[in-house]
Amino acid sequence: MIAISHTLIRQSVSTAFSKPSMSLDQTVESLKRQIASHESLLEDLRRQLAEAQFNQPPPGAQESQEQTFQASDDPLAHDLSHGIAEDYMNEVFAALSRPQGDHSPPNRWPLSQDEYKRYGRQLIMPEIGLQGQLRLKNASVLIIGAGGLGCPAAAYLVGAGVGTLGLVDEDVVEHSNLHRQILHSTARVGMSKVDSALVSLQSLNPNVNLVPHHGRLTPETAISTVQPYDIVLDCTDTPASRYLISDTCVLLGKPLVSASALRIDGQLMVLNNPPRSAGDPTGGPCYRCIFPKPPPPESVVTCGDGGILGPVVGTMGVLQALEAIKVLTRASTSENEQPVTEPPTLLIFSAYANPMFRSIRLRARKPKCAACSAHATVTPEALNSGSLDYVQFCGMIDPVNLLSPDERISAENYAKLRSEVNPYTGMEPAKDSHVLVDVREKVQFELCSIDGSVNIPFADVSGFPIPQPTASAAIPDDSHWVHELKNIPDKPIFVVCRRGNDSQVVVRKLKQLGLDNDGQRWIGDIKGGLIAWREKIDSDFPEYY
């Protein structure tokens, strides 16, 4: 397949130059077409490569078929086969064969040579040791979300040698992911995040059994997806998924390592740990115990809107891997005793605070928790039947629709207004015929803005008090934006933001402040904001979201 493609490329490239009679335009067109076609071919090849790498059997897979204990010249082996009490021999055999995964070569040591070398630096630590490594090797971890948290978490867990790692995600890799989602690469933009992550993880440690789960976790699929795993990492980015994952972990008795990050802050909790059955107050609290009610949807800020510093979310993902390793390797002090678990805490990380970390004591299980108490209403049946609507539970923001159609202008019409010659006067439009107010935050305005626009950040407008009719308006000074807009009473005001939501709120507010002179001055916004401006008018306008 690959060889054929190479020939194709050679042939077609040579064709483009071998026809001198072709006009320059035709050549350009033909080259463009060929580039497009080869780009799609290349993308296909990349996908095939990823698939092939993913399906490649890990080294040692074949040898494991003939996994038997070979007698050798080794004196101990001789003793074992000839003159040692049978129960002792069985014990040794059991110890030697137990840790051997399906694809380890015959070995008289519990780990393969590769594993001793690979994990040596953690094996020599008392916190891990041989038993800890074997626990990791027998463990399976499900990571939900292959983004800013999931990528580093998966890298460290695969590096540490967990036996099985499952990854759930429905998104594809985008350019805006690459500054923090370290398993993906520029060449794999457009590939599914799960496939892209598996390519990296496979090359990092071929001993780990990687399981892709394409698509979003839904109430109907949650139980069957999570069931086979020992521990779950919530690396998602919405309240709805956080409640769903927590409920599923409670129902199935799985500990849950939950983290989140935004801008310069991160949070981390180990939930349902220990994972006792619902109603048992000695089990660890679940997400619903800590947050019985979801936050109002308008208070939820995404990384796309608020921003995120790569190492901040990376730190939180790495800490998730660490907590998972601690839970998986923790030893019981004796046969009958339960492993000791730390009391529940919330770790808060603030990159620009000093100290950067602080740990907060959390409550125990909530006696009336809807998920983990004796009065739980979240049941496997309710989950499987889809009768629990997590999206509705968490609510959605209604699209902003504050303005009437005559208070809004499309990006196209605004562009005409800026550039077109007046059909009646034959005049070019004056640059200052109107005011264009950009209400994004200052830092975004400085990235790129429409020529001639002025920046009045949304927070400044929405935070400005509406004067009482009786009192005279107390405006700080003459340079204040309210003054400046008042001083040009004839010029219409156009308001623009990123998407066309905040701009509507600002138009309302400017009118409440009386800046429309009782309807004599037009104030309105640009529909669809700068995203529409970029799509419809100025494709060179930077796309930073």
Binding site: G148, A261, P296, I348, S350, G463
Partner: protein
């Protein structure tokens, strides 16, 4: 941290984006009456502190990003001296001089 018996001085901190509602400042030291109303003998509780913060400290008009139905909105953890307020009696907790109260908004990004 000295204050007259009529007043309490407490450290109030905001995290997880809540500081944006309070002049983008994470740590505030505030002094408030030890009794609410100040002429009464009713000790000031966290509930009173929250109203005080809204009235005296918050510059942003979007109150509902902090308070809903008379108490801290869902999705905000209140920590009294580094422990979940559920361990301390929630909003009925009587504020003590020198207390450290932290309001943390949950994050959802990942």
């Amino acid at each position: 941290m000295s204050s007259s018996p009529e007043n309490l001085t407490v450290k109030v901190e905001f995290s997880g984006g809540l500081e944006l509602l309070f002049s983008n400042k994470r740590t505030h030291t505030i002094t408030l009456p030890a009794h609410t109303p100040s002429t009464s003998t009713t000790p000031t509780t966290i509930r009173d502190l929250v109203i005080y913060l809204c009235d005296e400290l918050m510059r942003d008009p979007r109150r509902d990003l902090f308070v809903l139905d008379g108490t801290v909105r869902p999705g905000i953890l209140v920590l009294i001296n580094d422990a979940d307020w559920e361990l301390e009696g929630e909003d009925a907790y009587e504020v003590k001089n020198g207390d450290s109260i932290l309001f943390v908004s949950t994050l959802h990004g990942g």
